[in-house]
């Protein structure tokens, strides 16, 4: 037959037809497309949320580790200056500062301003003198607290061990398993996406078979579905990115910044959005490849 165009031109037109058919295929199978988009959005969203959680916990524990502090309550008539020197010399202690009983009362009064008049509650200042000890590593809080408690003149050591210990354990666990969980979840998401895709294009087996019989190149048949998968994956990834950025924005930037220990820092929005889009495209395309492979094989054996 007469060929009116060269091979590169024919390849370009073939690509044009492929993309056109991909667009038509997507809009024609709206319900299936919605199912694939939602599945990919969920998969990417959950994986992204796990990644964000791991990152956030890591940042928070880093902050905590570097900002862990304990309050040393002194016995009456204790030598604050001597104790300050001894504690400062201990390994793992970053700084020690003296908090007088007057300044502690003043701090409490400021804290309860407008709510309770402490001068009406206390006839004498009930607070002891104290030392504010800043640690360089929260993991050593127990050891340092033990050492400080045994010093003469120390009444009590108060620190958030009940919060720090579980948080450190959680952080260590998340550090070890978080990325593994995210990877596993991504694999499960890929599998679910492939199954959803297979269901979505199963009823198009006749279309695949007809195209095979007409001599359509396998790469074009596959390419159409891969393009459809990538397009739907892009939409799913964008949905996931919107939700994650919104949630991360609302939670990390508006809530976590209020923590007294400081903010873990803004979530990397650009990276997050790009990651969601790329993950969505990959999930859609790979899911489509696996599904169309099976459907094409089934169609070719039914010809």
């Amino acid at each position: 037959m007469r060929r009116s165009a060269g091979a590169p031109t024919r390849a370009l037109w073939t690509l044009f037809y492929l993309l056109r058919d991909a667009r038509e295929g997507t809009s024609r199978n709206a319900l299936a497309a919605v199912a694939v988009v939602l599945m990919i959005a969920l998969a990417v969203g959950f994986t992204g949320a796990i990644a964000l959680t791991v990152r956030g916990t890591h940042s928070l524990t880093s902050l905590l580790q570097h900002q862990a502090r304990m309050r040393v309550l002194l016995a009456p008539k204790a030598d604050a200056a001597s104790l300050t020197g001894k504690i400062r010399a201990m390994p793992g202690v970053r700084s020690v500062s003296f908090i007088s009983k007057q300044s502690e009362l003043a701090r409490m009064e400021r804290a309860f301003t407008g709510e309770v008049d402490l001068s009406q509650v206390f006839t004498t200042n009930p607070f002891p003198d104290g030392l504010d000890v800043l640690l360089s590593n929260a993991g050593e809080a127990d050891r340092i607290a033990g050492s400080v408690s045994s010093l003469p003149g120390v009444d009590r050591v108060v620190y958030g061990a009940q919060y720090i210990r579980p948080l450190l354990r959680l952080a260590a666990t998340l550090k070890r398993t978080g990325w593994l969980a995210a990877t596993l979840f991504a694999l499960v998401a890929l599998l679910v996406s492939a199954v959803t895709w297979r269901l979505a294009i199963l009823h198009r087996a006749a279309e695949v078979r007809t195209k095979q019989l007409m001599g359509v190149r396998p790469i074009v048949i596959h390419g159409q579905f891969v393009a459809e998968g990538a397009l739907l994956g892009l939409i799913g990834g964008a949905l996931a990115a919107l939700v994650l950025v919104y949630v991360a924005g609302a939670f990390i930037d508006n809530v976590l910044t209020l923590l007294p220990i400081g903010s873990p820092g803004r979530a990397p929005y650009g990276l997050l959005a790009a990651g969601c889009l790329i993950a969505g495209v990959l999930l859609g395309a790979i899911g489509a490849v696996s599904a169309i492979g099976a459907v094409a094989r089934a169609a070719s054996t039914s010809t």
Binding site: M1, W13, T210, M214, P218
Partner: protein
């Protein structure tokens, strides 16, 4: 009847279609559909494949377009051995027509026909021009915007034929093309086959049950029987008689 083997019809140096000692048995069945079957179809020849249901007519056609892989033997299409060829390349040189029409349901009649040109990478303008011409040629210009579900069986088959012929293939293979059609629609399809054979002389192989079509067309008839292919001399004889009677009158 005589075996329709390679030696019996050796007119063109390279046949358009050739089965050479082909055997095929489907998994789970005891009987071979094709057993050492041979067939040679010359360039420009038109033949009918006949045989009872299940005899293997469709298997012969499927073997020719690569949908069935033979257990033994060679299949050559336009000189290309299918065993070593990429099937889509071979199919792009064929025009395939099926009893079940196999139109793309999401495309209109016009788009279905144009798709036959698009898969070759022809530009849209050329594909559309050809599609318009082909729909005209099969008498369906009025239905070009309709979708397959809006067409009758005969109209769908004519769309299928227009799609199969849009690239003027040198070989046309049709599997029961009039099996689902009434007599008028079948005649319309036969008329188109006659016209294209006269116009550009493609090699045509039609698997059919229709004795009327065979008698009317008066072409070579090959019978599929017991896994072998035989030239049906009786049918050839009838054809010769009909031609002689026509010439006498």
């Amino acid at each position: 009847m005589s075996r329709a083997d390679v030696a019996s019809r050796s007119q063109s140096p390279v046949p358009a279609l050739e089965l050479d000692g082909v055997s095929k048995r489907f998994p789970g069945t005891e009987r071979s559909v094709l057993a050492d079957a041979s067939l040679r179809v010359n360039v420009g020849e038109w033949l009918f494949l006949v045989g009872h249901s299940g005899a293997g007519k469709s298997t012969v056609l499927k073997t020719l377009y690569g949908a069935v892989k033979p257990d033994r033997g060679h299949v050559r299409v336009l000189g290309t051995d299918l065993a070593s060829a990429r099937h889509f390349r071979v199919r792009q040189r064929l025009g395939l027509l099926f009893q079940s029409f196999d139109l793309l349901p999401q495309k209109s009649a016009f788009e279905n026909v144009a798709y036959g040109a698009e898969i070759l990478g022809l530009p849209p303008r050329e594909a559309k021009a050809r599609a318009g011409d082909m729909l005209d040629a099969v008498g369906l210009a009025y239905a070009s915007a309709r979708f397959p579900h809006q067409l009758s069986g005969g109209e769908q088959q004519r769309v299928g034929l227009a799609r199969a012929l849009i690239h003027r293939p040198p070989v046309v293979l049709a599997d029961e093309p009039t099996g689902n059609l009434d007599i008028d629609a079948a005649h319309a399809i036969h008329g188109i086959f006659e016209r294209i054979h006269r116009d550009w002389n493609p090699t045509i192989v039609i698997a059919t049950h229709s004795l009327e079509l065979i008698r009317w067309a008066g072409r070579r008839v090959v019978r599929v029987q017991d896994g072998a292919l035989f030239d049906d001399e009786e049918a050839v004889g009838r054809r010769a008689g009909a031609v002689a009677a026509e010439e006498t009158s």
